[in-house]
């Protein structure tokens, strides 16, 4: 039986945003070519891979050591930072069937939010990886807000609600705040669903607080989880399993 909800929260990284297209040769290669230094592509890709070995994964580099991408990989070359950020956005893809599904649910009057584990302090709209992705892919019109541990960004006016500051998905505190926030809008937590790929941050803590949960396996399949009510690999599958509660 399909789940009936009034609100859906979408995880960002490796769920709405699919990094498959962001290959080193494309991003680092394009930056070097735009800087007029195609001869340095291989050496810089090598340095970027060395950085990955230092910090474990590319997300960790981008979230916490972006300055080193510029200093170590690009030798502080003027303009590299701006081109790198632009190329990152250009090569990021949307999860399978995402926009079609967002359009379907907004047409039904469903309330939609992005719920992301953003570590970087929020600046103006479009300056962090989440809102810049939404802007560049034309997705802001589908969402009311972006909920992050740095605050909730209202996508209509860009204002930031700091009640969410310091609350995280992994600790579940972000879902506690969301439950209160939704209740104030007349939506009970049982009428809300969270979709994401990571069991520890998107599924289990949300389920424990009464949210309905959908595990997305379109990019990474983290395996079976009892806390996931449904499992999908393409966002379009949501149309069959989620209905708007009247």
């Amino acid at each position: 039986m399909a789940m009936e909800v009034k609100w859906i929260g979408f995880d960002f990284g490796q769920c709405m945003m699919d990094p498959t297209g962001m290959r080193n040769y494309l991003v680092i290669g394009d930056v070097c070519k735009e800087l007029g230094e195609p001869e340095l592509i291989d050496a810089r890709i090598h340095k970027y891979r060395v950085l990955k070995e230092k910090y474990g994964n590319y997300s960790a580099i981008k979230e916490g050591h972006r300055d080193e991408i510029m200093s170590y990989v690009f030798d502080n070359k003027d303009g590299a930072g701006e081109i790198f950020s632009r190329k990152e956005q250009e090569h990021l893809l949307m999860g399978k069937g995402l926009e079609e599904t967002l359009r379907y649910f907004t047409d039904q009057g469903m309330r939609l939010s992005v719920v992301a584990e953003l570590k970087k302090t929020l600046g103006p709209m479009g300056t962090d990886i989440v809102t810049s992705f939404l802007v560049s892919k034309g997705l802001t019109k589908y969402f009311d807000d972006v909920v992050t541990p740095q605050g909730k960004v209202d996508l209509k006016d860009g204002s930031i609600d700091l009640r969410y500051k310091g609350k995280t998905k992994e600790a579940g505190t972000i879902y506690d705040e969301l439950a209160l926030d939704l209740k104030a809008k007349g939506i009970d937590v049982s009428e809300a669903a969270m979709i994401g790929d990571k069991l520890k941050t998107d599924i289990s803590p949300a389920k424990k607080r009464g949210f309905k949960t959908i595990q997305y396996t379109g990019y990474i399949d983290m395996g079976r989880c009892e806390d996931a009510d449904e499992k999908i690999s393409d966002f379009r599958e949501m149309k069959k399993i989620v209905n708007k509660k009247p």
Binding site: Y25, L26, G29, D30, K33, E34, G36, E37, P38, E39, E53
Partner: protein, 222 residues
């Protein structure tokens, strides 16, 4: 091969400059060795990593570090899409160009030099799978459906490029003859602006951008 003592550069006026070979850095020694001019340098690394395969094959890697410890070793298995473009050059072997950037999205190619231009368009013709390899043919000279485009298309592409270069020259208050006669540093700066305006980047060597723009400037001059 005997041990090199001096590196000599001979100029067209008969003069020479030379230095002790021991002062030539390792990279240059390696380049000279690759040209067959001297034996490869013997580098003295601080540590060595010897790898042994299950079938007994062994390889050595020198590391210029004293304190070394293995952090992790892993493999990555992923389908890579690489374009291979072979070009008939009138020589014994064709030239082979690797297209690493989104090869399936390359739509067309313009081949041009002082003698003329030709344009080719790409679309998926045939797909063959052999074991784990999939080959998609986008152009094949032997396939009648892969015919080179008529001259008109190449000419209109060239004209479009020439017009863009002319527009950029107007902006900079220059004419083709004057730009061609400028010094290398000055020219390179202007060429960078022109290439930006044209939206053309060098695939492997930045000097290719400069050469291509000079070709367009010669066309304008004519």
């Amino acid at each position: 091969m005997s041990i090199p003592l001096r590196l000599v550069v001979e100029f067209n006026d008969g003069s020479q400059r030379a230095i002790d070979f021991s002062k030539v850095n390792v990279q240059i020694q390696e380049s000279l060795a690759a040209l067959g001019l001297c034996p490869p340098p013997i580098t003295d690394s601080k540590s060595y990593l010897l790898l042994r395969w299950k079938n007994g094959w062994q390889e050595i890697v020198g590391l210029d570090k004293t304190q070394v410890e293995l952090l992790r070793y892993y493999t990555i298995e992923r389908t890579e899409e690489i374009g291979r473009m072979s070009l008939e050059t009138g020589e014994a072997y064709p030239a082979l160009l690797l297209v690493k950037r989104l090869p399936m999205l390359v739509e067309s190619a313009l081949l041009t030099n002082d003698a003329g231009s030709a344009m080719y368009t790409f679309s998926e013709r045939t797909t063959t799978t052999e074991g784990g390899k999939t080959e998609k043919i986008l152009y094949d000279k032997k396939d009648p459906e892969s015919a080179v485009e008529d001259n008109g298309k190449a000419n209109s592409w060239i004209l479009e490029l020439i017009n863009s270069v002319k527009a950029e020259l107007d902006k900079e208050g220059l004419i083709a003859e004057k730009l061609l006669s400028m010094g290398p540093d000055e020219k390179t700066t202007v060429y960078a602006d022109i290439s930006k305006a044209l939206g053309i980047r060098a695939m492997e060597r930045q000097e290719d951008i400069n050469g291509f723009i000079e070709l367009m400037l010669r066309r304008i001059k004519v």
